[in-house]
């Protein structure tokens, strides 16, 4: 009886508009998981990390939830269990099975000097996940080096957030659908055997990269998008005589455009659609990308994209379909939906770390899960003078990664590589 009462009093909330689609499509193949890692300068102590996660959850109870199914939609309910912290043993961004994870939708793991958090997109987006992860890192360092952080421990960090659905607050009911109806070029090639995921980090000198971008009058994201399109064109598109456009999906943090303190998903995206018939050299690609960003990265365009998606989620007919049927329909159609993107490139930008804490951190890594259609996904984050561009791939071929690496090197930008060893990376002349 008491148990029943406790269950009834548990906090619950609706999924935000973006999150609604994720649990419908999630499976072992479409994990919808992303990972943020922090490489420390010292070995991780698991017991302290466990405490740090528990403490961070007290600051951000938003993440202390499990996924439950309602009649029409999934919803999130408070999870009274303690989270687990495990040694890293699987490939990054793999499907998080709630049954093996005390129902949590995120998983904290560690390996040697590295702390990882794998988060299901149902819960939040990269931007808000970064805040939660930083809280874990701060708390871990404070617990590990109590004396050095006496002052910081006394002053509690101000954390203000809501769990509102900012999409509903900001979308435009009259917005027109601006999505392209043409399918994208799909990367060709065999998959890596046995469900393995290859990770290759390209560690780029940020100042040198910024200098090159300034010379070319483009932003870092524009430049990297252009290099990515160029690498796909040279390594995969040309050899397989591709005809459809290379479409790069770039997530956009909507908090930059609308005032919101939500921790729920609040992002949209722009799609750079490169028809390769008219683009042959890198300079042409770069100018094209610059123009696409100028046209598509405007408030009006972003609101249109966001509103189209919100209208689907709030459609009375769709709302009325029972969850079981919704799930079946989405699963049938999901592979087709994914065919409108060649690759996703998500740049979460600078990891703003407070003063003293920086001394204990070597680098941050960010990566997103590849899928059967989007076989490679790219992500980037910056810490200090290091931009880490990561390829997560299920494609049994590293040509795109190699061309990307060689091109950046040719621009005179210092670059090094690290991988998880699933695929061998050919050493360049300089590395040899």
């Amino acid at each position: 009886m008491k148990n029943m009462e406790e269950k009834q009093n548990l906090y619950w909330r609706r999924l935000d508009n973006s999150a609604k689609i994720f649990p419908l499509s999630v499976s072992k193949k479409y994990s919808t998981v992303f990972r943020i890692s922090c490489v420390l300068k010292e070995k991780v102590v698991p017991k302290i990390l466990e405490k740090a996660v528990e403490k961070a959850l007290e600051v951000y109870p938003f993440f202390k939830v499990k996924l439950k199914s309602g009649f029409f939609w999934y919803y999130l309910e408070e999870n009274p269990k303690k989270p687990t912290v495990e040694i890293e043993s699987n490939y990054p961004c793999k499907y998080i099975d709630p049954k093996n994870n005390r129902q949590y939708l995120f998983k904290v793991t560690y390996f040697d000097r590295k702390i990882n958090i794998d988060i299901n997109h149902v819960l939040t987006d990269g931007n808000s996940a970064t805040n939660f992860f930083k809280e874990i890192i701060y708390t871990y360092l404070e617990l590990k080096h109590e004396k050095n952080f006496e002052e910081e421990i006394r002053l509690t960090r101000k954390v203000e957030y809501t769990s509102e659905d900012s999409y509903l607050k900001n979308y435009n009911k009259k917005a027109k659908n601006n999505a392209s109806s043409q399918k994208a070029y799909i990367l060709q090639g065999k998959n890596i055997a046995l469900g393995a995921i290859s990770v290759i980090h390209e560690i780029i000198d940020f100042d040198a990269l910024k200098k090159v971008c300034k010379e070319k009058d483009v932003t870092v994201t524009m430049f990297l998008t252009a290099v990515l399109i160029y690498a796909i064109y040279e390594a995969n598109y040309k050899p397989s005589h591709g005809k459809k456009p290379i479409k790069v999906c770039i997530p956009v943090n909507l908090k930059k455009y609308f005032p919101s303190t939500t921790m729920s998903n609040f992002f949209s995206y722009i799609t750079v659609e490169a028809h390769m018939k008219n683009l042959d050299t890198f300079e042409e690609i770069l100018q094209f990308v610059k123009l696409e960003f100028k046209q598509k990265l405007t408030e009006k365009e972003i609101v249109n994209t966001m509103s189209t998606n919100v209208k689907i989620g709030t459609n009375a007919f769709i709302k009325g379909i029972p969850l079981l049927l919704k799930k079946m329909l989405v699963r049938i159609g999901y592979v087709e939906i994914r065919k409108y993107t060649t690759i996703t490139f998500s740049n979460i930008g600078r990891m703003g770390i407070i003063g003293k804490y920086q001394d204990y951190i070597e680098e941050f890594l960010f990566m997103i899960a590849p899928e059967p259609v989007e076989k490679i996904k790219c992500s980037a984050c910056t810490f200090n003078n290091q931009l880490v561009f990561t390829f997560t791939s299920i494609l049994d071929d590293t040509k795109i990664e190699e061309i990307f690496y060689e091109f950046i090197q040719q621009q005179g930008v210092p670059i090094t590589r690290q991988s998880n060893g699933v695929l061998e990376i050919k050493k360049s002349r300089e590395e040899k």
């Binding site: 495990e86 043993s89 699987n90 393995a196 980090h201 699933v422 695929l423």
Partner: protein, 187 residues
């Protein structure tokens, strides 16, 4: 080092190919033994079918990262119960104890042995099921002592398979064993 040492994709593929080649050799030996010594019985074909089943399940679960051990354990119990029931309603000649269950146990142990070798990095989630499978695998001993078995060869083979599986498991995964038991039993 940023990541735990993972088997290189090419090496992993090679290991699986070697495993399949070994299985084919074993299948040929079993078929030859059956033809030479017990031509009236078709036990080798049942064992070969089980080996094929084991490989399909193993490859599928490695690919999809499923908790295969839980499924293997459940299937092992369910199939055994079903076979005993079929045996019972068809005259209870006790072939389920002497032939069927030992073959099911051998299959389960072969799957777990392959998993121990191929996927020992994420073995912690399989530990508790591996222990259950090892415990249930000693059932043929009970069958022998209770005189439920006419021909004891398959029962001893099943026992041998489970002992080998247990030894390899303890050698390769002792850390996961301790951690898994602590976690599941809240010690």
């Amino acid at each position: 080092m940023l990541y735990p040492k993972k088997i290189n994709a090419k090496k992993g593929k090679k290991m699986i190919q070697i495993g399949i080649a070994i299985s084919i050799v074993i299948a040929l030996i079993l078929w030859g033994t059956q033809k030479a010594f017990t031509p009236q019985s078709h036990w080798a074909w049942i064992t070969i079918a089980c080996m094929i089943y084991a490989w399909i399940i193993t490859l599928y679960s490695i690919k999809t990262c499923q908790n295969i051990a839980g499924h293997v354990f459940l299937q092992m119990l369910a199939v055994s119960a079903l076979l005993v029931y079929i045996d019972y309603i068809t005259g209870f000649e006790k072939w389920s104890f002497g032939i069927a269950i030992p073959i099911v146990i051998m299959t389960a142990n072969i799957i777990m042995l392959i998993l121990t070798i191929v996927a020992r990095n994420r073995y912690i989630q399989y530990v508790i099921y591996q222990i259950f499978i090892c415990i249930v695998s000693y059932l043929p001993v009970v069958f022998i002592t209770e005189h439920l078995v006419k021909d004891e060869i398959l029962s001893y083979l099943a026992l041998g398979a489970s002992i080998i599986n247990f030894i390899v498991f303890v050698i390769l995964c002792h850390k996961s064993l301790i951690e898994g038991v602590k976690r599941k039993l809240h010690m």
